[in-house]
């Protein structure tokens, strides 16, 4: 009788362990293969220039970072790729410098066929904490399906890890007794 219980517990544990590991590997792979990132930086949400915001992070007014305007598949190197609202973002782009920002001329300036970045970040405040607000994540829209994927993955992980833990305590013989509620 006890053996049967142990066997069931072992099976439960191994099954949910396999599912959890598989989920982990799948999620990790989706990150390392770049799929997760491509779905995050999916389309442009406004008109402007798609850039790799990391390149201009240390720009200053005296030492601005100059980005060459070019039509490219990939935002590799100091380039600013023109995009319109709804366009797929080029690979490696992680932010869009809006035309409005360029028009304002305070942080970035248009000079011929280049975009000059002078003030790459500003200090903003959220819930009483300061943080650096850069061009990264600006003007981008994620693939709405990535939202559904995130939720599905996190719930799948939660369920499989929860049942894995249950299987574990069953296997090692830890008795989890139902609590008697009431006074």
């Amino acid at each position: 009788m006890a053996d049967n219980h142990r066997t069931k517990a072992a099976f439960k544990f191994c099954f949910w362990l396999a599912v959890s590991v598989a989920l982990f590997v799948y999620i990790f792979h989706s990150y390392t293969s770049g799929q997760m990132i491509r779905w995050y930086y999916y389309t442009a949400s406004l008109d402007g220039y798609a850039v790799d915001a990391n390149l201009s992070i240390n720009a200053t007014k005296d030492n601005p970072v100059v980005l060459n305007i070019a039509q490219q598949e990939e935002a590799k190197g100091p380039v600013a790729i023109p995009v319109a609202k709804g366009d797929r973002l080029p690979k490696n782009a992680n932010g869009v410098i809006s035309l409005a920002e360029i028009k304002a001329g305070k942080r970035v300036a248009l000079e011929g066929q280049t975009v000059k970045v002078m003030i790459p970040w500003q200090i903003k405040e959220a819930k009483g904490f300061k943080y650096k607000d850069t061009f990264k994540h600006k003007g981008i829209r994620t693939n709405p399906w990535s939202g559904a994927w995130n939720v599905a993955m996190v719930l799948a992980l939660g369920l499989s890890l929860g049942l894995l833990a249950e299987g574990f305590t069953d296997l090692v013989g830890v008795k989890i007794v139902k609590i008697q509620h009431g006074h």
Binding site: Y40, K124, H137, V151, L157, L159, G162, H181, H183
Partner: protein, 353 residues
């Protein structure tokens, strides 16, 4: 160190897992999501503010599910209560978010919101602390008299008031051992949802006291049932945040690893204590969160110039997580000692089982 390409931050995996672990313990024990601890911690690690909220929300959905599975096994979930609350909660959150947008249009600043959440948390702390101390005293008295004491003792007269509301349909919540109007349950869901959506604070530390003091559920059932709600509202929040671009899933992944272990510890720990012990921990978490929020409020009001205030707020957030875990672990330790017939401090006896 891991390169979180989406968030654009390099952060130590270990610290993320530890945050997940500690908040998992607390969340599994008192039924909160722990966002008010996690979001500041993530910001300190370098994640942008908007992503800190999104990552936190998403991880809460997963962590809540891990805890719910264990609480189901412990018999702490009343499904009638949980399912009845869902609609009210979802509607409440949506109303709360719209209210927030409306207030923002009116120009009401974040300062007002912060001040409101401080006032709310402090009021909840006072009520919970006072009621729990009364219950603790009564338990001690009963033990002294040699009377048999069960898992729960609650001294508030509010549940009787709400349970006497005769609006049909009246539902029977078997596990919670409560017979109450469905509208009370929906109201609890809506009120807690609005607060969650409006103030951006997790429903947990409002919903658990509401379930105990309005619906009259035992604390254990309030915790388990609330965690189910947290999964649902967390999943909805995660979806919304993901669409807004506020979620770096790799950060969520590492936090869930830690949370998985923490949630086990916290959930199983509830089987070692009586209801008032859980309410005490809840009230401590409220007062520490209030203190942290007050410090941040003062920091913002002084024009963000007094840096030691910001530093103290960070220390308080980290310290709070460690404190709550230590206290919960202590209660379990003392419970095991008592079961073995060993000495425990006088104040511990009535709190553990």
């Amino acid at each position: 160190m891991f390169d979180f390409a989406i968030a654009g931050v390099e952060a130590p995996i270990f610290l993320l897992a530890v945050v997940g672990f500690t908040v998992g313990i607390v969340g599994g024990f008192i039924g909160v999501g722990g966002g008010y601890m996690v979001t500041p911690a993530l910001i300190v690690f370098g994640f942008p503010g908007y992503m800190a909220s999104g990552i936190d929300m998403t991880h809460i959905a997963g962590k809540g599910l891990v805890s719910s599975v264990r609480h189901r096994q412990l018999g702490n979930i009343d499904w009638t209560l949980a399912l009845s609350m869902i609609a009210g909660t979802m509607l409440g959150v949506e109303m709360g978010v719209r209210l927030l947008v409306y207030f923002k249009h009116l120009g009401i600043s974040g300062v007002v919101l912060l001040a409101t959440s401080v006032a709310l948390m402090f009021t909840l702390f006072l009520y919970t602390q006072i009621e729990t101390r009364r219950a603790h005293k009564q338990l001690a008295e009963l033990e002294k008299q040699g009377k048999q004491v069960g898992r729960e003792l609650q001294t508030s007269s509010l549940p009787r008031l709400f349970q006497s509301i005769p609006l049909a349909p009246i539902v029977r919540c078997r596990t919670a051992r409560v017979i109450v109007s469905m509208w009370v349950i929906v109201l609890v869901g809506m009120v807690t949802g609005v607060l969650a959506g409006f103030l951006g604070v997790g429903g947990g530390f409002v919903r658990v006291p509401a379930l105990v003091y309005m619906v009259g559920a035992s604390t254990h059932v309030a915790v388990g049932t609330d965690l189910v709600e947290i999964v649902i509202s967390g999943a909805y929040g995660a979806l919304r945040h993901s669409i807004e671009g506020n979620v770096d899933f790799m950060a969520v992944l590492f936090m869930i690893v830690g949370a998985m272990f923490g949630a086990q510890v916290g959930s199983i720990a509830t089987s070692f204590v009586r209801g008032p012990a859980i309410r005490y921990i809840l009230s401590y978490s409220l007062i520490l969160a209030t203190l942290g929020a007050t410090l941040r409020l003062v920091y913002v009001l002084t024009g963000q110039n007094v840096h030691w205030l910001a530093l103290t707020a960070v220390m308080l957030t980290l310290g709070e997580m460690i404190f709550l875990c230590l206290f919960i672990s202590s209660l379990v330790y003392f419970a095991v000692r008592r079961r073995g017939g060993k000495w425990v401090p006088d104040w511990v006896g009535p709190l553990v089982i």
